[in-house]
Symmetry: C3
Subunit: 161 residues, 3 copies
Amino acid sequence: MSEIDAKLQAMGLVLPAPPKLPPGVVLPFSWVRVRGNRALVSGHIPVQPDGAIAKPLGKVGAELTEEQGYQAARLAGLAILASLQRELGDLDRITAWLRVFGQVNATTGFDRYALVINGFSDLIIELFGAERGGHARSVVHTSALPFGAPVEIEAEVEIQT
Amino acid sequence: MSEIDAKLQAMGLVLPAPPKLPPGVVLPFSWVRVRGNRALVSGHIPVQPDGAIAKPLGKVGAELTEEQGYQAARLAGLAILASLQRELGDLDRITAWLRVFGQVNATTGFDRYALVINGFSDLIIELFGAERGGHARSVVHTSALPFGAPVEIEAEVEIQT
Amino acid sequence: MSEIDAKLQAMGLVLPAPPKLPPGVVLPFSWVRVRGNRALVSGHIPVQPDGAIAKPLGKVGAELTEEQGYQAARLAGLAILASLQRELGDLDRITAWLRVFGQVNATTGFDRYALVINGFSDLIIELFGAERGGHARSVVHTSALPFGAPVEIEAEVEIQT
């Protein structure tokens, strides 16, 4: 078992199935785009273990508390790890996290929105350690995400070729 | 004639002139920034063949239908291809599309906004094929774009040095 | 004295201390992430020379004029340069600016928001010159930034290894 798989198991975490989109939604892009030692990860929203869009849906500050937003960001992280595992075969091939770009669907004026993405950053650093899991990050506040999701996260990682 | 030029011609598409900005608007950055095998493309809005800002202007969900937004994203794609051609000399030098970042100026709650950027993704994949044209993508919903444009698209491509 | 330090001094500019965050705010990411010849810079807001969050706070178009927004973007630029200097040791190691991503907290419909980030782009080009300081750029309009900051800027630079 790979190192990251073993950590996921020790933490009681399961990577979800591929995202299940509602009928009629076609996405003409890749969840993960690999070239050389770079893997570029498309924006992912939180999903359940079976790949269905996770609940609760809505805005942080209204339908979701900050803590629920944090948990949603963690679920988006698991969805990203699942996409990376399907593309790379083994998460141990990730040599460094590079850049993270988060979107938080929040009520007007909820200016603690960026902290919601800590649910993602904390997960990655817990799994990969501070050196390998460290990353640069930007977060935007938004008033809409696909299907009413509370967060969406994009990333870039360096991989072993 | 290069392969991509031939495809553009076969599809009846013409790359527009450089973007014409209103008087007094100075943009102190490059439309395309090339270093090594990377070409980073600034945010482009849709333009007409003569480089003037394309119409209709406004928000998807109000002044524009979803289909008109899709067509606007396609025009932004032609503007990006034109900028890349001016910078690279030949679009055949593009070996892979890597990352696409879209913004859609849409009404509050129009959560199908990301699908608008399919107008761009579909164009790129039709021109370059699934393998070379594939890309990672994120899209944000916004309530303002320069000059009231409906979409803006940023990208990164890999090039032959 | 390094070339960029000398220019900063000649321009009368001082790089600020590290950002001071309010109590209870934990940011589990790096201000600058370096791998190989890439330095990825997290989103920075404007700070004073002592690292405290700079004023005025609020939206461009309401609490701030466009010119005040421009100055705020310049301060965010100095904060980024300070973070890069702490990480790289010497700003002369920057061989090229690559990509800039700005966010402007502005009133609804203020569609000159992207020009606010010229405060950043002009500073970088003045310091590094057009060839080394040139960059691709995208800017988003937003209705919230951390602590009510008017702008936030993320970037990527190429460095000498």
